[in-house]
Subunit: 253 residues, 2 copies
DNA sequence: AATACTTAAAGTAAAAAATACTATAAGTAT
DNA sequence: ATACTTATAGTATTTTTTACTTTAAGTATT
C-alpha cells in the first residue's frame, strides 16, 4: 500500500510534476519525513466547573510539566481511530464524543523533528475514570480551565484553541450535553451552560426556552436522594435534534 | 534542526517511550514517513453566485478531472505559509483571507502513500485573476458551488466540508466581506448574504440591522455609473469589529 | 423642463420574543 | 404540623423583529 520505497523510481519516469504544481527542490521522498501526532483536550464537568484532564510528564524534555494526552499516529491508522485510542489508553473510555478542532504544524514545535499534531477535543461525563498506566507520565489530574499549570511543548496554545472552540460550539450547537450524565435535571443543565458561557440565566426562562426547542425527552423519573422536591429527569433527544436541524432549526442560548 | 537521522540512536538510549504513551511496535523512524499537503478551497463571488476555483488535471491519475489547488508541504515550511504559497502560485494574489478548516487523513486517500492534507479556504474578491501556469493543470475555472463537476482524489469531501464551514461561519462572524470589493453598497452586501445563506432579507430591515452593529464605516462616496439614484459606499471596519467582539458583541444575521 | 422610472433611505405599526418577576406545588427535615 | 428548599407554572412589561409604507434622490425619456 505504501509506495514510498518506490517513489524515486516513480520520479525517475517523470511523475515528479504530474501530481502537483511545484517544481520540487529535492527528491519526492524527502517530502515524506513528517511525523503525525494526536493531542487530545479532554473536557469534564464537576460541581459547576469545567475541567480539563492533564498528565504530568515523568521524562525529559519538560519533565515535571503537565501535558495534554497524545501520541504519534501509526502510519496505518486513521486519524479518528488514533484519537479514540489515545483517550481509551488513558481513561479506558470508549465511544466518547470527539471533535477535531485544529492542526498545529509550526516547524519548530517538536524536538524530535517535523511533527504535525491534530488537535481533538472530547467531552467526558464520568470524571472519575482515569487509571493512569504509562511509561512517561506519573499522574493525571483534572484542572479547572481557569487555573492551569504551565504546559509542555506548545500544549498551551493547543489547549487555548480547544477551549475557544468549545466555548464557540456551545453557543450554536447542543454540545454540552455530553458533559452531563445521560439523565439530568433542567437545573443541572442550566448550571452547566452557566459554567460554559460564563453568565447566569433566569431559571424560569431557561426552562421555557430549552423545553420549547423540543430536543429534550422527558423521562418518567425524578432525581433521588435529594432533601427537597425532586426534579424531573430528562434525556437529550439527539435524533429529534438532527431532524429539526435539517429543517433549519438552529440551537441558540 | 531535523533529528530524524539520529532517531534510531536516540531510541537506542531508551528514548522510545519517554515522549509518549505507546509501547512502539517498530523503530521510531518508521513513524516519520508521512507526507503533508495543503488543499485550498478558493471562494469567489460574482453576479449573485458563490463560486469556487478548480483546476483541471492534465496528468494521471485523475487526468481530466477537476481538483482543488494544493501542493505538498516542504518540511521546512509552516502550514499557513504553505497555504499562502499555493494560492499565490495559482492566482498571483497575496494577503488573502485564509482559514484552516479541517485535516483529512484517511489511510487510503492518496496513491503516493500516507499523505495527510490540511484544508484551507480563502475568500477572494477579484474573481478575474487566475493566470494558470502549471505542469499538471491545463485550465482553471470558477464553478458555482451548486453545480460542481466530478472531482479528483477525495476533493469532493474536502470541498463539501469547506462549503459547510463557510456557510456556518457566515452566520456568526462577518466573514463574507472578504468576498466583496473594498468599497460596497448596502444592497450589494445584502445580495451577497442572500447568496451565502440561501434566503432573502427585507431590504429596510437588513440596512437597519447591519448599520446598528456599527461595523461599517460610511464613506463620502457614492456608486458611480448607475442609471438611478446612486447608493452610498461603505467599508468594513475590522478594527471596530474586533473591539466590539472583545466586549461580547456577536455578529448575527 | 416636465414626466416616468429606478433604487436609496427613513419611518411606523403590529407581531413576536426576551426578560423580569410572582405565585403556587411538591417534596424533605425537624 | 411546620419550616424549608427547590420545582414548576404563569403573567405583565420591555425589547426586538418583521412587514409594510412613504419620501428622497438620482437617471433616462419625451
Amino acid at each position: 500500500m505504501f509506495l514510498i520505497q518506490t517513489l524515486d523510481l516513480i520520479c525517475g519516469i517523470n511523475m515528479k510534476s504530474s501530481y502537483y504544481i511545484s517544481e520540487y527542490k529535492m527528491p519526492l521522498k524527502d517530502y515524506f519525513i513528517f511525523g503525525l501526532s494526536i493531542d487530545c483536550v479532554v473536557f469534564g464537568y464537576h460541581e459547576g466547573e469545567i475541567k480539563v484532564l492533564l498528565v504530568q510528564r515523568d521524562a525529559e524534555p519538560f519533565k515535571g510539566h503537565w501535558a495534554l494526552i497524545g501520541d504519534l499516529v501509526d502510519p496505518e491508522q486513521n486519524l479518528l481511530d488514533a484519537a479514540n485510542n489515545v483517550l481509551e489508553k488513558l481513561t479506558g473510555l470508549k465511544n466518547i464524543y470527539m471533535k477535531q478542532f485544529f492542526t498545529f504544524g509550526s516547524v519548530d514545535r517538536h524536538p524530535l523533528g517535523r511533527v504535525v499534531t491534530v488537535g481533538y477535543f472530547s467531552l467526558v461525563n464520568s470524571i472519575d475514570h482515569h487509571p493512569i498506566a504509562s511509561s512517561w507520565a506519573k499522574s493525571a489530574e483534572w484542572f479547572n480551565i481557569n487555573h492551569l499549570p504551565e504546559l509542555a511543548f506548545d500544549h498551551q496554545s493547543i489547549l487555548t484553541k480547544g477551549i475557544e472552540t468549545l466555548k464557540n460550539d456551545v453557543r450554536h450547537k447542543p454540545t454540552g450535553f455530553e458533559l452531563l450524565p445521560d439523565k439530568f435535571t433542567l437545573l443541572e443543565l442550566q448550571l452547566l451552560y452557566e459554567a460554559l458561557l460564563g453568565y447566569k440565566f433566569d431559571k424560569s426562562n431557561f426552562r421555557k426556552k430549552i423545553l420549547e426547542m423540543n430536543i429534550l425527552k422527558p423521562l418518567n423519573e425524578v432525581k433521588e436522594n435529594v432533601s427537597h422536591r425532586p426534579a424531573k429527569l430528562f434525556r437529550f433527544d439527539e435524533k429529534r435534534y438532527r431532524i429539526l436541524e435539517q429543517n433549519g432549526f438552529s440551537f441558540e442560548l
